[in-house]
């Protein structure tokens, strides 16, 4: 069971007003949920708070019924949570191979680690050709592929993605989202996908949640959400 | 103007206080005044610009050597010159030597930060004994400095130690007052702006490199005059007096007094002069072998422990001390309960426009 749930999550920076105020949401086991909303809606803050990178002022985070609230980021990751953060999260000083091995370290040992890394190369063939290249020599698309592959190599139960399509060519985005959907279908991975690319995100998601100023203002099946012009205008700006 | 008046008042009170002290205490007071000048320079440097110098003892030594060389040269060239001429020439030499070294270090400081500058100044301290042997500075024996007897008009009234304490207090006042003015004025504001955010300061028309170089030089001259005070009190300058241990004590005095605070520098200076002496006096009461081991070391141990306690106890470490500095330019919302926000660059650009 790998349902991700958070209840009454309140997060803020410094003494300011909270960015998220008592937000509750459930991502059921095996679901792919798109997290939508304009810039500043609180998507990144939410994902970072779920991972423990930003301390929450209140509320709880549950993974498969297990309370993650008091745990450090690395312990949450070791419970099966994975986050592909926004932007270039590849360790630029390490090679592609080292980045992938790093992702697999805590999960796999010995030959299983080698097999997991080999599987990642099968999933993303362009990476296999560049396995000895340093991270800083990769293109934007290759970096995002590597970040996703590195998260998947640890067989997470729940995958959080923060704007994976940001700044990438449409064809690369299509490939990434395709791999994401196939992997979710094949392995039953639970996915929470924060995106501004609404159409792309809703095309792979089962459900969409719209975040506005730290509150969930809509939570509907993806197809329904994509077809509701009023909602699109109000919160998603198209 | 108010700062100058206050400094004169404090100096007068200190001079009056010398009548209550015995000769040895007056000698200690003179030493503390010299250390105070150096610590004041260091604390303003660290507190306002965030640059750590581990080499202020060398700046003191530079001042001491400059003082001794200039004063002796004047004495030899014009044997009839009065003590006032010799003293002023010596102080000029002290300011020139320490200012020049400070300017050089400041040029480095403008390009370096944090550990690099600290490491460079540390290397300077370690190289001082070598420099004393290689340069014409008299080797390990150092240079002698002129002796100032009590003026005849006062000779019935005070002892030579008390006279030297007076000189020390006067020199320290002359060294520290400009520093206090700088700290409270626009230059101090610019230093804090550079500390807060160099890029933003640069965009507001403040040249960070210029500010850092200037701050180092402004901090070096009081240190050099402090070295001159010690040379007046001891009539000599030796490299051994300005080693790593002494340099670290200056940092201790600045930290204990509160970084950036000149009043705190005075307290810190008295502490690092008096406490080792008190402890060593107490250590004479214990058995000889133990006393020999404690001698000079127990005080250092205590100072180290206090410094660690201070950095640990501040919630924001020593950096937190920086925000407690009084703001000389009150903002309109002084009523706000917590005005700990770092200096805003808009306030800065307003005040630089006034220039």
């Amino acid at each position: 069971m790998s349902t991700l749930a958070f209840c009454d999550l309140t997060v803020g920076y410094g003494d300011g007003a909270p960015v998220l105020d008592g937000l509750s949401l459930e991502v059921p086991d095996g679901a792919v949920v798109a997290l939508l909303g304009a810039n500043g809606a609180g998507k990144t803050t939410l994902l970072r708070a779920v991972c423990g990178l930003v301390p929450a002022r209140g509320g709880r985070v549950l993974l498969g019924g297990q309370d993650l609230t008091g745990l450090s980021t690395e312990d949450r990751v070791r419970r099966g949570l994975a986050l592909v953060p926004e932007g270039r999260s590849v360790v630029a000083e390490l090679t592609v191979e080292e980045n992938l091995r790093l992702g697999a370290l805590w999960r796999h040992r010995g030959p299983a680690r080698t097999r997991a890394v080999a599987a990642a190369y099968e999933l993303f063939e362009p990476l296999a050709r560049r396995r000895a290249s340093a991270g800083h020599t990769l293109s934007g698309g290759e970096r995002q592929m590597l970040a996703l592959a590195r998260a998947l190599v640890a067989d997470p139960a729940v995958l959080l993605l923060d704007e994976p399509s940001l700044g990438l060519a449409p064809i690369v985005v299509a490939h990434l989202l395709g791999v994401l959907r196939d992997t979710a279908e094949r392995t039953g991975l639970t996915v929470l996908l924060a995106e501004q690319n609404v159409t792309g995100a809703l095309s792979v998601a089962d459900r969409g949640v719209v975040l506005s100023l730290g509150e969930a203002v809509a939570d509907r099946p993806a197809a329904e959400l994509a077809a509701d012009p009023a909602l699109r205008h109000a919160y998603l700006g198209f | 103007m108010r700062t100058t008046l206050r400094a004169a008042l404090i100096a007068l009170v200190a001079i009056a206080a010398t009548f209550g002290l015995d000769p040895f205490r007056n000698y200690q007071l003179a030493t503390a005044a010299g250390v105070f000048a150096a610590v004041a320079g260091l604390t303003v440097l660290v507190g306002l610009t965030g640059q750590l110098s581990l080499g202020h003892a060398v700046l003191m030594a530079a001042g001491g050597y400059g003082y001794a060389a200039a004063a002796t040269a004047v004495e030899d060239a014009a044997p009839g010159a009065g003590p006032a001429v010799v003293l002023v020439a010596g102080l000029g030499g002290a300011a020139a030597a320490s200012g020049a070294l400070g300017l050089l270090l400041g040029l480095a400081a403008a390009r370096l930060r944090g550990p690099y500058l600290a490491g460079l100044t540390l290397a300077l301290v370690i190289a001082l004994p070598s420099a004393a042997n290689v340069l014409p500075l008299g080797g390990d024996q150092g240079l002698p400095a002129p002796f100032f007897p009590v003026p005849e008009a006062l000779s019935a009234l005070i002892a030579v130690e008390q006279w030297h304490a007076w000189l020390a207090i006067a020199i320290a006042a002359v060294a520290v007052t400009p520093l206090a003015v700088i700290r409270g004025g626009r230059a101090g504001l610019r230093m804090r702006a550079v500390l807060d955010d160099e890029t933003a300061a640069g965009l507001s028309g403040v040249d960070p490199a210029l500010v850092k170089t200037g701050a180092f030089a402004a901090s070096a001259i009081p240190a050099g005059l402090g070295g001159a005070v010690l040379a007046v009190a001891t009539q000599q300058v030796t490299p051994g007096g300005y080693g790593l241990g002494f340099s670290l004590l200056l940092v201790v005095a600045a930290v204990v007094g509160g970084l950036g605070s000149i009043g705190g520098a005075a307290i810190g200076a008295v502490l690092v002069v008096v406490l080792p002496w008190l402890i060593d006096t107490a250590a004479e009461a214990v058995p000889a072998e133990l006393g020999r081991r404690l001698d000079g070391n127990l005080a250092v141990l205590l100072f180290g422990a206090v410094v660690i306690a201070v950095v640990l106890a501040r919630p924001d470490g020593v950096a937190g001390l920086l925000n407690r500095l009084p703001r000389r330019r009150p903002s309109t919302d002084d009523t706000a309960p917590s005005n700990h926000a770092p200096l805003s660059t808009t306030a800065l650009s307003k005040s630089t426009k006034l220039l």
């Binding site: 953060p85 | 480095a108 290397a123 250092v300 180290g304 410094v307 660690i308």
Partner: protein, 292 residues
């Protein structure tokens, strides 16, 4: 010419020790983005531990092992007990904390062992071999060179070929990303300090028998020279530390021989100043101004 060869060869052994100590500074810099100004005092504690054990047991090797263990433990303890608790927004609190630690450790050593210099014997002869009439390295110099080479090789393997090394490097370069990949970054910082201080202890242990003797300040000069080496080589560059260590060791050997012993620290200071002003990134690192 004979003299030149002799000076170069003594500089070589000194350079190996310098490179080792500089490498310890590089390790802690990479792990914690900090220069440990207490490295010399911490290494001195380890050397005193080795000295005490050797005096009690009569075995140099047992003392050496205890010295290394003391350095490693002290590194971990200082990181956990002090450095971790200080804010890292600026390097100032860490540096001031280290200065406090220097005072506590050095004064503590002087109180515990007395202020006088203790002679420390080398495990091998320090009389140089004479080849073709020219005195070159001594057996002890060879031991120093071999030990330094072996340790540096082992550290290189650890960092590049093992999964602990991969974690250490990742934690140093990208702490947040590493945490998201399950790397226990705080533990890696502790491991970095442990390795660093153990390495510094070894360098000090190798150098003290060739110096005036053991005192609480025995490693101070070594630290300053090694800092210069690390800056010249680039604080991020282990290879730079090695090359610059050998270079600076030979330079100070030649200056000592041809000018005077007291000119050597000035030469190192001059080199440090010139490199910091002209190439603040170090001679072996790729650009980027030194702004910690």
């Amino acid at each position: 010419m004979d003299r030149f060869v002799f000076l170069l060869s003594t500089g070589l052994a000194r350079g190996a020790v310098l490179a080792l100590f500089a490498l310890s500074l590089v390790i802690v810099w990479r792990a914690a983005r900090a220069v440990n100004f207490a490295q010399a005092a911490m290494a001195a504690v380890a050397v005193y531990a080795a000295f005490a054990v050797t005096a009690a047991s009569g075995s140099y090797w047992l003392g050496l092992a205890c010295g290394l263990a003391t350095g490693a433990l002290l590194g971990a303890a200082v990181e956990r007990g002090l450095m971790r608790r200080l804010p890292h927004r600026t390097p100032l609190p860490g540096m001031i904390g280290a200065i406090g630690l220097v005072m506590v450790l050095q004064a503590g050593l002087a109180i515990a062992f007395g202020p006088e210099h203790r002679p420390m014997r080398a495990p091998f002869s320090e009389r140089p071999f004479v080849i073709g009439g020219v005195p070159v390295l001594s057996p002890y110099d060879l031991f120093v060179l071999a030990t330094a080479a072996a340790v540096m090789g082992a550290l290189a393997l650890l960092f590049t070929k093992t999964s602990l090394g991969l974690r250490l490097r990742a934690a140093a370069f990208a702490p947040e990303t590493s945490r998201l990949l399950g790397v226990r970054v705080p533990r890696m910082v502790t491991v970095g300090w442990t390795l660093s201080v153990a390495t510094a202890a070894l360098a000090a242990l190798l150098s003290v028998p060739t110096e005036l003797g053991l005192s609480p300040h025995a490693a101070d000069l070594l630290f300053v020279d090694a800092f210069a080496v690390a800056v010249v080589g680039g604080l991020d560059s282990p290879l730079g530390a090695l090359a610059a260590g050998i270079g600076v060791g030979m330079l100070s050997g030649l200056v000592t021989g041809y000018v005077s012993a007291s000119a050597a620290p000035l030469a190192v200071l001059a080199l440090l100043t010139v490199v910091l002003l002209l190439r603040p990134g170090g001679l072996f690192a790729a650009g980027e101004a030194r702004k910690a």
